[in-house]
């Protein structure tokens, strides 16, 4: 009797938990990329890149004769509906938790995302760690035409975006960071862009670079690589980078920048809000088109670098705040942390605040090394 009672209790523990979800492992197909395009009548075209599992080359998988991936697409009112249609085409069970990238086409992003991305908020079987990219041409074409060294392009993109060695010329973002920022006035969403580098007919080489800036759920413009790098420093996402200064006409010096630290401080003086930006770091001369004497011209180099960086940062902040009116630097959140009452007051018309915001920028880089040359 005791054993029966214990058995019932145990069974209850097991069954009540709701941890049910056996997966038909052998029918499983990994969705490596999702593409979102606009379609007629406010519908969405969803493209799924299904990767065919392959043996690693080391295990003799190099000579396999099958397509590494297949793209399926369908149109639906919601993403869910389209995915269900694709399910009928693909037959296999679609496995979302290892999706590498989500591509949103620029056209679609400019139309506004909020209602559709609800899918990613709710769906449990998905990868919130997938990388978000905005594609300059329809996402379906990017997925169809992309040609990379790896058999499945999405794998290559994920590895690139994950890597730390690359120059911070775009602002990488993962789904779990991207989604909440779509509604966050004080820290707006961004996403790196992807597009064909040179069109050569059937397959294209895709380039990841630049940054799409969102204002709420709507994309409003692009930031160039240089500008993305500066935004990366200001948000603290990156600590290094490179910068080219113009020394004289057609003469330039390139610096490698390390240990970049930026500090944003809101300053309130007489009811007027302004932003204090302090950027510090170390610089290393990479290349110069003029002969340099590091000893005597050291101070000059440093001043030129600091002056030109200040201008670049000013321009970037100006573009982001005045032209786009979007707070991708997260200054709103900084204010929220420092002066919560002030933030509450200013939040409703933060756009206006941004446009009128005065930025006081000071840059102090030390030129520490000059490479192998002295």
């Amino acid at each position: 009797m005791k054993a029966v009672k214990a058995g019932i209790c145990l069974l209850a523990v097991m069954l009540i938990s709701g941890c049910w979800g056996q997966i038909n492992f052998d029918q499983l197909t990994v969705v490596s990329a999702i593409g979102l395009d606009p379609a007629k009548n406010n519908m969405i075209r969803v493209t799924l890149q299904l990767s065919n599992p392959t043996l690693p080359v080391a295990a003799g998988g190099g000579s396999q004769q099958r397509r590494p991936f297949v793209n399926y697409d369908a149109v639906g009112v919601t993403i869910q509906e389209a995915v269900e249609r694709i399910q009928h085409q693909a037959k296999k069970s679609l496995f979302f938790p290892q999706t590498k990238v989500v591509l949103i086409s620029e056209q679609f992003a400019r139309r506004g995302l909020d209602d559709t991305l609800d899918y990613f908020w709710r769906e449990t079987n998905q990868n919130l760690n997938s990388w978000v990219l905005v594609s300059r041409m329809p996402a379906r074409h990017v997925l169809d035409k992309a040609m990379e060294l790896e058999p499945v392009p999405a794998d290559e993109w994920r590895k690139y975006l994950e890597g730390d060695w690359k120059r911070p010329l775009q602002i990488d973002v993962q789904m779990y960071q991207f989604l909440p920022r779509l509604n966050q006035t004080g820290y707006q969403a961004v996403s790196p862009g992807i597009g064909p580098f040179n069109k050569s007919g059937k397959s294209d080489i895709m380039e990841i670079g630049d940054t799409a800036v969102f204002k709420n759920d709507r994309m409003i413009g692009w930031l160039s690589g240089e500008e993305s790098q500066i935004v990366n420093w200001l948000t603290g996402a990156s600590r290094h980078g490179s910068f080219h200064t113009d020394l004289a006409k057609e003469e330039s010096v390139s610096f490698n920048l390390n240990s970049v630290r930026a500090k944003l401080t809101p300053v309130l003086s007489g009811g007027r809000l302004s932003m204090q930006v302090r950027v510090k770091g170390e610089a290393e001369v990479l290349t110069a088109t003029v002969p340099l004497h590091f000893g005597s011209e050291h101070a000059m180099l440093r001043d030129v670098l600091n002056r030109q960086l200040t201008t670049a940062i000013e321009k970037t902040i100006d573009k982001v705040f005045r032209q786009f009116g979007s707070d991708v630097i997260g200054f709103g959140e900084t204010l929220h942390r420092r002066m919560p009452a002030e933030w509450k007051k200013r939040k409703p018309d933060w756009d206006e605040e941004l446009r009128g915001l005065n930025a006081d920028i000071s840059v102090s880089f030390e030129v520490k090394r000059s490479g192998l040359l002295h």
Partner: protein
């Protein structure tokens, strides 16, 4: 019936012969001793007695006194005097009843009757072949003593005694088995082992009601705490140095005649994961190996279930490349993950059992068939996927890191339970299984000691001693 005839030799002989059913190996030898030529009778069981010893210690002293007077005229006194001063065997006493005499007879002693004497002299003359001392096959070591216990209790006790030359070593002999009358020795160091512990062990052995005790397992099962538990709460070892260490720790060892496996109490999970070789290796190496063993224990228990559980419920946890290669490897495999794993596990268990039973000479044939046919061909024919083989092989290898055979067997059985839980409930099921296991392990004890002793009722000093092999120099310092 006159008094003189009451202990007549022919009657006594008849009595013994009848008790033994006139068994053909009961030998009786009549002789006359002393000047008075009093009839005497020697009885022994052939083959249990060393004839040379018998001749040297009993026969020749008795027969070489035809010209000497008997020590006494009263037969009973004469018998006692014979035992005291004529018979040169190490042990010779006079017992009064036939029952006692027969018990000794069965142990290979020789009975001596003197006409008219009331008592029966029993003379120690046993001698039977015993296996030579060899390396213990169940627990070999790279460094350390290589002698192992044999089937003879006396030899085994001597092997332990030889290692602890202390007056405080105690050997208490008990007899168990209503038919087999197996001798059992309880060994302990009296100023280290707690007396109530020793008493408890003895009383438990005293309660053994069995016809025969042919192996120490008989005793183990009857004296262990929580006998329904799968886990061994009695330690068993084939190594005298292990037993010596156990005695010095203040634990109690039980040696059973006829079995090379000694038992020890109390025994916790940590004891089962320790080997005596840990103490013979350099302390960093020994500590590393001990950790490896803990890992091996967990792997043995959990690896197949984690494989099944992750693949059937949480494939998103598998890194993408690994998932891709598992998916390709599984392509075309006709069985689901669970069935495949169980099949391979069963195959391995069958192979293991077969390799224990089969004659040595065809052992290599089986291992070739096992390795090649099942490993290679099954994968190539696409019946079993290679990840399943890797998992089962890794588990099998891990299972040999557990030093205790009985614990290893327990884990083997629990592993199947874990695989089933994992197949029904995934990692959640594995966690439930581990919880149940934890509840069970904390609830059992071995001779009053909690089974998870230094871990679960946390005792810092012993815990450190279990996790690390404390170097001897550190121990030395503490003693000062």
């Amino acid at each position: 019936m006159t008094k003189r005839h009451r202990y007549a030799l022919s009657e006594r002989r008849r009595e013994i012969e009848l008790r033994l059913g006139e068994s053909s190996d009961l030998i009786a030898r009549e002789c006359r001793i002393g000047q008075e030529a009093i009839p005497a009778l020697l009885m022994w069981i052939d083959n249990l007695v060393d004839k040379r010893t018998l001749q040297l210690t009993t026969l020749s002293p008795l027969l070489s006194m035809p010209n000497l007077p008997l020590p006494s005229n009263e037969p009973s006194e004469c018998l006692e005097e014979l035992c005291r001063s004529v018979i040169s065997a190490p042990e010779a006493t006079v017992v009064s009843t036939a029952d006692e005499a027969i018990a000794s007879l069965m142990c290979g002693w020789t009975l001596l009757f003197v006409d008219g004497a009331e008592g029966i002299a029993v003379i120690q003359t046993p001698g039977f072949d015993s296996r030579g001392i060899e390396e213990a096959p169940s627990s070999t070591v790279v460094r350390g003593p290589r002698d192992g216990f044999v089937e003879s209790l006396d030899v085994n006790v001597s092997l332990v005694r030889r290692r602890i030359r202390s007056e405080s070593v105690r050997v208490d002999k008990l007899v168990a088995g209503s038919v087999s009358h197996t001798h059992i020795a309880v060994m302990y160091i009296h100023d280290r082992a707690r007396p109530e512990m020793v008493e408890e062990v003895k009383s438990r052995i005293g309660k053994v009601k069995l016809d025969g005790v042919l192996e120490s397992q008989y005793i183990e099962e009857l004296i262990k705490d929580s006998p329904q538990s799968f886990f061994p709460t009695v330690y068993s070892t084939e190594r005298p140095d292990d037993v010596a260490g156990i005695l010095m720790e203040g634990r109690v060892a039980i040696l059973v005649d006829g079995s090379p496996f000694a038992l020890a109490l109390p025994c916790t999970l940590a004891h089962l994961l320790k080997t005596s070789e840990d103490l013979y290796l350099a302390y960093p190496v020994a500590t590393f190996i001990r950790w490896l063993r803990y890992v091996g224990f967990m792997m043995n228990l959990l690896l197949p279930s984690v494989y099944v559980g992750t693949l059937t419920f949480h494939p998103e946890m598998v890194p993408p490349q690994l998932l891709s290669s598992i998916l390709t490897a599984r392509e075309g495999v006709p069985f689901p993950v669970l069935l495949e794993t169980l099949l391979m596990e069963m195959t391995f268990e069958v192979l293991r059992e077969a390799s224990v039973r089969m004659p040595r000479s065809i052992g290599s044939a089986i291992s070739i068939v096992g390795a090649l046919v099942i490993g290679e061909s099954a994968v190539q024919a696409g019946i079993i996927s290679s990840p399943a083989i890797i998992v089962v092989a890794a588990t099998a290898i891990a299972s040999f890191t557990i030093p205790s055979i009985s614990l290893s067997g327990t884990v083997r059985i629990l592993r199947f339970g874990m695989v089933l839980l994992a197949s029904m409930f995934g990692l959640y099921g594995i966690m439930i299984g581990l919880f149940l296991l934890g509840i069970h392990l904390t609830s059992i004890k071995s001779l009053g000691m909690p089974y998870l002793a230094p871990f679960a009722p946390f005792r810092k000093k012993e815990f450190l001693g279990m996790v690390f092999r404390i170097p001897w120099f550190a121990l030395n310092k503490n003693r000062k």
